[in-house]
Amino acid sequence: MKTLTHLDRLEAESLHIIREVAAECENPVMLYSVGKDSAVMLHLAMKAFYPSRPPFPLMHVDTTWKFREMIEFRDRKAKELGFDLLVHVNEEGVRDGVGPFSHGSAVHTDVMKTQGLKQALNKYKFDAAFGGARRDEEKSRAKERIFSFRSAEHRWDPKRQRPEPWNVYNTRINQGESVRVFPLSNWTELDIWQYIRRENIEIVPLYFAAPRPVVNWNGVDIMVDDDRMPEELAKTAVTKSVRFRTLGCYPLTGAVESTAATLEDIIQEMLLTTTSERQGRVIDADQSGSMEKKKQEGYF
């Protein structure tokens, strides 16, 4: 008799979750961040409904500061897989000229990402939104439900979470409320990489090491991706062999020096490394418990 491996079981659980949303929610959407976790989630969505197409669109909240390679990848991938792709930009933020260099990471992330996401969810009246978050990423995620209920104001109340026994999910909501659904809740970073390797899933090349121009900003190496970087900072650029462990806004995403150019190299580096994944992200670093606060305010 066939025994299921841990990846088989994780995959089966995710397919079940994704199908449950499609069957019970009226207007779901899959939030696509273009990162490796999103790539896995997209792959799982294709599998869940085969030979049908996934019955929901993709949505990307574009802060306008993403790496250019991410945007190219996003557009090509959505087209290849035949998804409707909705791109939302917080136009008020653009009008006010909000960006990480001028306003700092906290304001930029709040306006362009958190507010942008709320705007988009309100605009399209989505009642369910898939996200690629994993419980191993951060302590407050470890307690979040797979079906995470949000008030009409998009707030998460950790004290009012619905019990979630077995694989029986309560998807019912009142008018205006919504659920965020995390099909990758039980995956770890290593599971993600192993699955990408097993299933041959294409990811943005920025994950692989290559010579790239970087500058040191606030103690972190960031890549010079366009000419919006302040000139005096851009002048200090040096070329290093670097890669990225997570992808986001290029000024807020720390590069790590690396020569890992293949998936095996990356996994090897990850297993031998001693620094956890989110450290390259500037938004978590300000204070302990900061992610929990952001989530209560509506950050994904």
């Binding site: 199908r19 307690k143 309560n170 770890t188 297993l271």
Partner: protein, 636 residues
């Protein structure tokens, strides 16, 4: 250190090959902070190298700030997540942790141990294969150990590690260990006959018998905790039971393909197998097992697949495909164990949504037969169930569903209850068995049916449901309306709250649960009267929206007319015809609607009557007009 560093460095491809074929074990840790549960998990993560340098740095600084271990690392801080919890030093919710060794990947449900978190523990236990019960070697088997063992076995866990921790504080005494083990065995007989128990002496703080056997306990010849977790068979009890798959989604990309998608809950399946679709019982043969990476020769419990059948049988979401040789049963009445998970107590007689597998139905939960004291495991009398209470009760569903007893299959016998107004998940249920009554009592088909009875009276039946505060004028208006109807030759009857409480409902009080039952009975009587062709006027405070909805659902379409007698509390209290408000204000009457018991105004009543600006006679005319418009006063 468990991960094989050498292989990672020398041959990553070989390493990955090996690691792709690891199995997965889910376990739950039960115990309070004092027992060293968080320390144990922190230690496991640390020893499995799942703590990275930056986390370690913040752990070290946190340990000094708020830790309980002096200058040493406080492993407990690694797993106590939410800010509030850190401040209070307790784990409030279920937190999931992940780690892997060379042999297995582990998912740990870390749950709080206090009685007020029973629901969290049950949630964590519902998906676990193994439970680790933490016991403090100095204290032995406590009430909470009994509670934890009961809850985990209730939810179906049959493999238990009795983790006797803090052995360092009793000098690693074999006698202390043996005494506790004996105590537990004596008690475990009451839990389940097929329980497999592995006691392990340990010290999470000192790392003794956690990842490897330690010299301190040379008298102990069992495995270390990690050895046990890495080798215990991942019990797929589910594999050896008959095939079951709840249909989640009908996969219909075009006219040529019709598949049924779902996750297999039990057994295995091959093309050519005979299956039945339940509850219809229609049979067919499995044609293909479709996945995105190609058709399968076989699929097993746990897999998410899409199945196509040889015949076009009727099968939709919520139905269950089962082995034709060994099908599941179908019923609409069950006895079940229920764990209540909401701050609002169970209202026996109220209708809740019940979700089991992919099926959601409406269920009436009857008054518990008895409750179970989670500390003593004794039966206790229970009229309702409060938060974290467990009881045995019966349920009636509005349609039959396929099921297996929970102890045979978790997915086929486990359900949640959802409140229809708040949409909260309020209960967790485990099906024990079906009540045979469902299939034995058939509705008596009558030759003279309800339309014949109405026709004989030359009228159309209707139920006029007057709701409003005490003293709002419900009965007065109903009385006036009845006179008008009588004058038109209509056959009517009035059910009045006070009168019914003297007879049919004289055993009921005014608690929320009794109010629900009061309305349930009255609604059924009204239904019988409308079946008899009468126009029935029901005059009851009926303060809860969901009970009025229940009454509405009971009546035929268009026959239920909700009349909201909208009198402000201050006006009703001023009138105080029966002097009841005065008594309620004086505290002589408890649970008085509007004073210390809520009234939920209708949101979509057919009629709203303003009694401040209208006399009862005018109100009656308004209602009569409405009935005329709706054609309810025409001949039958």
């Amino acid at each position: 250190m468990r991960l094989n560093d050498d292989l990672i460095e020398s041959d990553i491809a070989a390493y990955l090959e090996k690691h792709e074929h690891k199995s997965l074990l889910r376990f739950i840790t039960c115990g309070s902070v004092d027992d060293g549960k968080s320390t144990l998990i922190g230690r496991l993560l640390y020893d499995a190298k799942m703590i990275f340098e930056d986390q370690l740095a913040s752990l070290e600084s946190d340990s000094k700030k708020v830790g309980t271990q002096g200058e040493n690392i406080d492993f407990a801080l690694l797993v106590d997540g939410l800010t509030a919890e850190r401040e209070q030093g307790i784990t409030i919710d279920v937190a999931y942790r992940f780690f892997a060794t060379d042999k297995r990947k582990f998912i740990v449900a870390d749950t709080p141990g206090h009685e007020q978190y029973t629901r969290n523990m049950a949630t964590g236990a519902s998906t676990a294969d193994v439970a680790i019960l933490m016991v403090d070697a100095r204290k032995g088997i406590l009430t909470q150990t009994r509670r934890h063992s009961f809850i985990t076995t209730l939810l179906g866990i049959r493999k238990v590690v009795l983790a006797i921790n803090k052995m360092d504080l009793v000098g690693y005494s074999q006698q202390a260990y043996d005494d506790i083990v004996d105590d537990f065995y004596a008690f475990a007989d009451e839990l389940a006959t097929d329980l497999e128990i592995q006691p392990i002496p340990m010290s999470a703080l000192e790392g003794v018998n956690i990842t490897s056997k330690s010299n301190e306990t040379d008298w102990y010849d069992g495995p270390s905790l990690m050895d046990y977790l890495e080798t215990v068979p991942v019990g797929d009890r589910r594999l050896n039971t008959p095939f079951r798959m709840p249909v989640q989604w009908v996969n219909r990309p075009n006219l040529d393909f019709r598949g049924f998608s779902g996750q297999i809950a039990a057994g295995s399946l091959q093309p050519g197998d005979r299956v039945k679709s339940m509850p219809s019982g229609k049979q067919s043969t499995v044609q293909r097992i479709v996945t995105a990476t190609g058709d399968l020769d076989q699929a097993v419990a746990g897999q998410s697949v899409t199945i196509t059948l040889d015949d076009e049988i009727d099968c939709s979401r919520g139905d269950v495909l089962v082995s034709a040789d060994d099908p599941s049963e179908v019923s609409d009445q069950f006895q079940a164990r229920i764990l209540w998970m909401s701050e609002t107590p169970l209202l026996p007689g109220r209708r809740y949504l019940l979700k089991m597998g992919a099926k959601t139905v409406t269920a009436t939960v009857n008054a518990p037969k008895y409750g179970i004291d989670v500390n003593t495991l004794n039966d206790v009398p229970a009229k309702t169930l409060e938060l974290n209470q467990i009881g045995v009760t019966t349920l009636s569903l509005d349609q039959p569903v396929p099921y297996d007893p929970y102890d045979v299959n978790r997915e086929m016998g486990g359900f949640i209850l959802i409140d229809r107004m708040t949409n909260d998940t309020v209960g967790l249920g485990l099906v024990d068995f079906a009540l045979r009554r469902a299939s034995n009592i058939h509705w008596q088909a009558m030759d003279i049916d309800r339309s014949a009875l109405a026709e004989q009276k030359g009228q159309k039946p209707a139920v006029l449901w007057f709701t409003g505060l005490s003293g709002s004028g419900k009965s007065t208006i109903a009385n006036a309306l009845q006179k008008l109807l009588f004058a038109q030759g209509k056959h009517t009857f009035t059910l009045d709250g006070d009168n019914v409480r003297h007879g049919l409902n004289r055993d009921l009080g005014f608690t929320d649960a009794d109010r629900v039952e009061n309305i349930r009975r009255v609604a059924n009587v009204a239904r019988l009267m409308s079946d008899a062709g009468l126009i029935t006027l029901v005059s009851f405070i009926s303060p809860f929206r969901s009970e009025r909805q229940m009454a509405r659902n009971l009546m035929a379409d268009g026959e239920f007319i909700e009349v909201y007698v909208d009198t402000p509390l201050s006006v009703a209290e001023d009138r105080d015809v029966k002097g009841l408000y005065k008594k309620a204000r004086a505290g002589e009457i408890k649970n008085f609607t509007g004073i210390d018991s809520p009234y939920e105004p209708p949101q979509a009543a057919e009629l709203r009557i303003d009694t401040v600006n209208n006399s009862p006679e005018e109100a009656a005319e308004v209602i009569l007009d409405f009935m005329r418009e709706k054609g309810l006063l025409n001949g039958g």
